[in-house]
């Protein structure tokens, strides 16, 4: 686990010395030529932000400006279905992922050589391209000759079920795939946060009789609560726009019943040629997205957590 410890070296050293940003006593004002330099230095980012964030965002708002688009959307049962699926996908996927990641980070605290080896294997899904792993999972499920059905046949001697013909199994497959891909990353974050907890806190807790489960609930969890909350919020926001999982694992099967907002909007825009409707579908998530973003940004600022 040297990598994470190495990482913590930075964090702890900094965290102790300056909890908040402080103004240096010898604060200077930028002088003429230096201001010119400073402006020149930020021009690239300002240009990127204006050309590739502001302009597309404004263009998107303009594309989705007509109220009739939303009337059209809400009258489409597939849209309503996609919206419900998105909520399900985010609510179950993110929470299960975070909770399991939290528990597993405790498992990976062990220093034995094989747990370290296991950690290296466990993190592979995170490093691999989404197209690759999700297509592979798709092949495990589609048809009756995928790996899962083959195993089923090897064990029971009968043909296995067709997974992607059932809406619920297909949706579950999407969620499980999402967890499979992103849980390692959550675990890594928790692992780093756990390693930042000083040993003496645990020792003090042990003297007070808090061990095992009690220690997890009353010591570890409160100390990680902030990281947990921020990670959950951030994952929620990102997962609302998650595209590749559903696009590759179930690809909407059966009959587009497992579409989420991102894949629905994408198909409306590029397969059926209604880009404005696609944009409107994405924009309909804004009432959920904006409060979350505000909450997240406030939380980040209030706690000074390094995002």
């Amino acid at each position: 686990m040297s990598s994470t410890q190495h990482a913590l070296g930075f964090k702890m050293a900094r965290g102790r010395s300056e909890p908040r940003f402080r103004q240096p006593p010898w604060r200077f004002r930028l002088q003429g030529s230096e201001t010119a330099w400073a402006v020149a230095f930020v021009i690239p980012y300002v240009a990127v932000f204006a050309a590739f964030v502001l302009y597309p965002a404004a263009y998107g708002l303009w594309m989705g400006r007509s109220p009739s688009l939303y009337g059209l959307l809400f009258s489409d049962p597939r849209y309503v279905n996609a919206a419900v699926n998105t909520l399900l996908f985010v609510a179950v996927g993110v929470n299960v992922k975070m909770f399991l990641a939290f528990l597993l980070s405790g498992y990976f605290m062990s220093r034995s050589w094989w747990v370290r080896l296991l950690l290296a294997i466990y993190l592979i899904p995170w490093a691999l391209p989404a197209v690759v792993v999700f297509t592979s999972i798709h092949f495990m499920l589609v048809t009756q000759w995928g790996l899962l059905d083959s195993l089923w046949r090897a064990v029971t001697g009968e043909d296995g079920p067709l997974f992607l013909t059932s809406e619920w199994i297909a949706m579950a497959a999407n969620i499980v795939s999402y967890i499979w891909k992103w849980m390692p990353f959550g675990t890594l974050i928790f692992l780093a946060a756990r390693m930042a907890i000083p040993r003496d806190i645990y020792e003090a807790a042990e003297i007070d009789g808090a061990t095992g489960f009690k220690r997890l609930v009353h010591v570890t969890f409160p100390l990680l609560a902030n990281v947990y909350l921020i990670c959950t919020l951030l994952s929620t926001v990102w997962t609302l726009g998650d595209f590749p999982t559903v696009y590759f694992v179930s690809s909407g099967a059966p009959a587009r019943l497992t579409d989420v907002l991102a894949t629905y909007g994408f198909r409306e825009a590029f397969d059926f040629g209604y880009p404005n409707l696609g944009v409107a579908a994405m924009m309909s998530a804004l009432p959920v997205l904006i409060p979350l973003v505000i909450l997240l940004m406030r939380r980040v600022r209030a706690t000074g957590v390094q995002l």
Binding site: P24, F28, A38, F41, I124, P129, V133, M140, W145
Partner: protein, 295 residues
């Protein structure tokens, strides 16, 4: 006397040992489950890739006649979907490396100006970056596509590079600002007294001291660019301009079901990120805890 005194102690030691073995056993079982869980889809890729073309989906858990034929086909571009494979591979590298370079350059310049030169209203930039960071990239995809048409960049690798730099730079700015705080301002001050201009301070003092953060963010940007799919797919549509990610997903439109070639391509495509990941794991983990919660 001594026996009656000792026996409860020994019993407790025995039960302690028993419990420890129990915990050990559970740990090992859990470890095996985690390993199977992590590896299953990757194993599946190998099974399909090692199948010969007729055996794909024969329903075997391990192919009866494993062969490396499909890898040979991919490497020699021997299938019509793969006619431009190495060209596309080079495209992926081009996109990845350019994205990495631009992200490092723009990110470090911005955080240097905001954090070290203390440009007035610099916090506006940090907030803009934070906003970009938390908004899902797919929400901007459709208007982004339109705008690239307006800019005349469709089917151009630069449109993908633009998108990736846009979404990687905010993370870079965070990491650099966080890490930059650990570099004493006195260094800048003394350089300034010696007559260095801001560019010299940036290039001679700031960048060399930021090396660990640069490595972490560079790895991150390269992985992001290599693994990204949506924007690649939207912007690139001809075989000459495609990256491997797009070419790979093209197989799914095929009626011939050349899945073994597809999975062999996927494995080759996944090799660079794996190498990068194992080579730079230490730095990437450092990057994560330095600042990041970004996947």
């Amino acid at each position: 006397m001594s026996a009656t005194y000792r026996s409860p102690r020994r019993r407790s030691r025995n039960s302690y040992r028993l419990r420890r073995y129990g915990v050990e056993a559970i740990t090992i079982v859990l470890g095996i489950l985690i390993a199977i869980w992590s590896v299953a889809p990757i194993y599946n890729m190998w099974v399909i890739a090692l199948d010969s073309h007729d055996d794909v989906f024969s329903g075997a858990v391990w192919p009866e006649h494993p062969s490396l034929e499909s890898f040979v086909v991919v490497v020699t571009q021997g299938f019509w979907y793969l006619a431009n494979f190495w060209h596309q591979f080079a495209n992926s590298f081009y996109v990845g490396l350019t994205t990495m370079f631009l992200t490092l350059l723009i990110g470090s310049l911005t955080s240097f100006t905001v954090g070290r030169l203390r440009l007035r209203h610099g916090w506006l930039l940090t907030n803009a970056a934070l906003m970009t960071y938390v908004i899902p990239a797919s929400f901007l995809a459709i208007p982004f596509y339109r705008i690239m048409q307006i800019y005349g960049l469709t089917n151009n690798l630069w449109s993908v590079i633009a998108a990736l730099v846009t979404f990687a730079t905010p993370y870079a700015i965070f990491i650099f600002s966080q890490y930059g705080k650990s570099i004493p301002m006195e260094l800048d001050e003394s350089a300034r007294i010696d007559g260095a201009n801001p560019w010299q301070i940036y290039f001679r003092i700031y960048l060399p001291l930021m090396a660990p953060a640069l490595v972490a963010v560079g790895t991150y940007a390269l992985l992001l660019a290599w693994n990204e799919y949506l924007y690649n797919f939207l912007m690139l549509s001809t075989p000459q301009s495609m990256t491997v990610a797009v070419a790979l997903a093209q197989f799914l439109n095929s009626d011939e079901s050349p899945w073994n070639f597809m999975m062999a391509t996927a494995i080759i495509y996944a090799l660079p990120p794996m190498i990068l990941y194992y080579g730079f794991r230490r730095y990437m983990a450092a990057g994560l805890t330095m600042g990041g919660v970004k996947g």
